[in-house]
């Protein structure tokens, strides 16, 4: 018997997140093990009158390719890769893996070259998304590899994932619409702020956000979702940040990341483990050491670190930021082949100040600043 929550997830992504219409060309990208979800996504897309195209990946294939690939391979871009990104009306990426460490023995330089080659595609994607020509959603399919990383059984992890999307509720879309309204209230308050200061253990960081657009991440581009984010001013970030959770890139963990910013750029980077990968990535290109995103996680059903950024960055009570490419729709002008999110816990003693005034303490917005974001009950 298939899990009814899978069909519910597919219906929410197609109907609520993307709002697919008749004739839309939607590309669904997924690892083969997410096949049951892809089948439901295809059905829901067809019901909406859209034209689904599916692209699966298989365990071991990328590893085999990257192991043998030379510089020439990694510099090669599929001749129609950019055209394809131009042709799509919508794109769904399903996160799942059979082994989250599949690429851990591949040289970081290879991954970096591949990222760099893919840059025209990424840029087309970002531009069309900012222009509202392309809608996209990243979602997750619960799998044993993610469960293992999260320290859970598959069943526990399934419950975690589906609860994070409120798919245990009879009407998840109504709950998301209510949540969306609350996030928009917060965004309304943040839009007049010029400068944010974050204080936590090892962290005293100031980011300029004057004139930048805040976005309520309410389940349209990520599902599950729950954050408010913007693109900080490129030259004003200053101070220190220590990330509570390991930063993960290409299946590799970098622990104990500490960054120091001056005039918007990372001027010092340290890690207790994985230092070389950190430095490799920060030097991918000019924009890789500048913040592209600053965000506050607001999904309080995501209550623990599970080593999947899609969830970790949403943990209610955390903030995160990404070095590298910013989202143009936030007003960010930073471009890079990189977009690497790192998460910092604020639930014990963390504080956020907006233009000198405290608005957030111990993982919660103060009641005078924002509505209660406690998730809907059973």
């Amino acid at each position: 018997m298939s899990d009814p929550r899978i069909e519910r997830l597919a219906r929410v992504v197609i109907g609520y997140s993307l709002g697919l219409k008749k004739g839309d060309l939607v590309l669904i990208q997924a690892p083969s093990l997410a096949e049951p979800l892809v089948v439901e996504l295809v059905r829901a897309a067809l019901d909406a009158g859209a034209n689904p195209a599916v692209r699966f990946s298989l365990p071991g294939v990328d590893h085999a390719y990257l192991s043998e690939a030379t510089e020439g391979h990694l510099r090669f871009l599929l001749p129609y890769a950019v055209d394809e990104m131009q042709a799509l009306d919508a794109r769904i990426a399903v996160h799942a893996a059979s082994n989250t460490r599949e690429l851990s023995e591949i040289e970081p330089a290879k991954l970096r070259t591949r990222q760099d080659t893919n840059r025209p595609v990424m840029e087309t994607y970002m531009q069309r998304s900012a222009a509202g020509e392309l809608v996209w959603c990243v979602t997750a399919y619960p799998c044993t590899a993610f469960a293992q990383d999260a320290g859970m059984s598959l069943k526990q992890y399934e419950d975690f994932v589906f609860r994070a999307g409120w798919l245990h509720l009879a009407d998840p879309v109504a709950a998301w619409k209510d949540f969306s309204r609350k996030l928009h209230e917060i965004v309304d308050r943040l839009k007049d702020v010029r400068e944010l200061r974050v204080l936590a253990v090892g962290t005293d960081l100031t980011v300029g956000v004057a004139g930048r657009t805040w976005i309520a991440a309410d389940g349209d581009r990520n599902f599950p979702d729950g954050e408010v984010f913007t693109g900080p001013e490129e030259t004003r970030t200053r101070g220190d940040v220590a990330f509570s959770f390991p930063a993960i890139f290409g299946g590799r963990e970098v622990d104990g990341v500490r960054l120091r910013f001056e005039d918007g750029r990372v001027v010092k980077s340290e890690a207790s483990a994985g230092q070389s990968l950190l430095q490799e990535m920060l030097s991918v290109d000019d924009g890789a050491s500048v913040l592209g995103e600053f965000a506050i996680g607001t999904n309080y059903n995501v209550d623990r670190y599970t080593k999947q950024i899609l969830f970790d960055e949403k943990i209610g009570g955390t903030f995160h930021m990404a070095v590298g490419a910013g989202y143009p729709e936030t007003g960010s002008t930073n471009t890079s082949a990189l977009h690497w999110d790192m998460v910092c816990d604020l639930r014990s003693g963390g504080e956020i100040q907006a233009d000198g005034e405290t608005i957030y303490r111990d993982g919660r917005f103060l009641p005078e600043f924002a509505p209660d974001l406690t998730p809907p009950a059973e």
Partner: protein, 366 residues
């Protein structure tokens, strides 16, 4: 543990069948269950300096599409479909099924709509092949479902499939070159013939092949392989033919099929099973009732029918014809969304005449 024969298979497919060269864009399509072969191919293609484009497909997704799509959606061809059938230099299709009857619940009309809509694309694909601008190969991978259809244990079926591909030979490529030389003689003899007549049980079929080139199918376009084929004149086939083996197509099948031809066209059809599906396919478009291919199976390693057309059509001592699309490289002009191969066994008393002269008895060419 991955089967080491998959690495051998990948190296024969890249080194012999497709002759993958540095810089080639190689698109590989196949079901998810062929994952181990995809891995071997990713390694082999990349080692050769070519660029693999891996496109694993889900049988469940394909079924869901055929079941749930409306007419417009069935007929829709995306720009991605266009690029992925026109841009790559080399194409490899992996044939492997987890359930050979998986489409039995889908309305047959939906398959016909889809095939007919894709016809222009399919035709351009084959024109590119015929002009030598691209190359294509279809390879069979053993599965439990196919073993079951063959009435064999998986281990035995695997031996049968790899044996037919000479993969257990010390030098499989040398073995295929020898096959090629042997088959070339048959193709040469047939090339001088204008009128073919095939006589067997319930079968007396006359086909005009004058001036049509015979293609030596020696492991380049199918793997395993072993046949010679051409595309007959479109308006000249006459007589009748009874097909010995079941006729699977596109996840369904007909059985006990008998066809009557006049002026190149099927004017009467019968089947013991699947008659409705047969008619649905024959009525897909104008070209679906005409022959696109006539061929002789010549692989001596394949001696039993296994319910898989890729093998049955190569049984040494059989002939087959295909309804629908013809091969441009064989100067065929019949156009259709269909290409359905059906096999007639000649091994017990079958005769093949070329311009009145006996060319083969019991399926064996003289």
């Amino acid at each position: 543990m991955a089967d080491p024969r998959l690495d051998t298979l990948a190296s024969v497919l890249c080194g012999y069948s497709l002759e993958v060269a540095a810089g080639d864009l190689v698109l590989v399509e196949g079901p998810i269950l062929a994952q181990p072969l995809f891995v071997s191919l990713a390694r082999e293609i990349t080692r050769r300096g070519a660029h693999p484009v891996m496109r694993p497909k889900s049988e469940d997704v394909t079924t869901a599409m055929l079941e749930w799509a409306g007419e417009e959606q069935l007929a829709y061809i995306s720009p991605i479909d266009e690029w992925e059938s026109m841009v790559p230099d080399k194409f490899l299709d992996i044939w492997a099924e987890s359930n050979t009857r998986r489409l039995n619940g889908v309305p047959a009309g939906n398959q016909a709509i889809r095939r007919a809509a894709r016809r222009p694309l399919t035709e351009r694909f084959f024109e590119r092949l015929a002009r030598g601008e691209s190359r294509w190969c279809g390879v069979t991978l053993p599965t439990e479902a196919q073993a079951q259809d063959a009435g064999m244990a998986y281990a035995d079926y695997e031996r049968f499939v790899y044996g037919a591909g000479h993969l257990d030979d010390p030098d499989p490529i040398a073995a295929w070159r020898e096959v090629s030389r042997r088959q070339a003689k048959v193709a040469e003899r047939l090339a001088s013939v204008s009128t073919l007549r095939i006589v067997a049980e319930d079968t007396d079929l006359t086909i005009d092949v004058s001036g049509r080139p015979w293609v030596n199918a020696d492991g380049h376009q199918n793997f395993p392989d072993g046949e010679v084929f051409t595309s007959p004149h479109e308006n000249a086939t006459s007589g009748h033919i009874a097909f010995t083996f079941d006729c699977p197509y596109d996840g369904r099948e007909a059985a006990g099929v008998r066809l009557w031809f006049e002026d190149g066209r099927v004017v009467r059809e019968e089947a013991d099973r699947g008659l409705e599906f047969l008619r649905e396919m024959l009525d897909m478009d104008e070209g679906a009732r005409r022959l696109g291919e006539v061929a002789f199976g010549l692989n001596p390693e394949i001696q039993r029918a296994t319910g898989s057309i890729a093998f049955d059509e190569k049984i040494g001592g059989t002939c087959h014809v295909a309804l629908g699309m013809a091969f441009p490289e064989a100067a065929g002009t019949n156009s259709s969304g269909l290409h359905w191969d059906m096999v007639c066994d000649l091994r017990s008393g079958g005769e093949v005449y070329g311009d009145g002269e006996l060319l083969a008895r019991d399926g064996q060419f003289q």
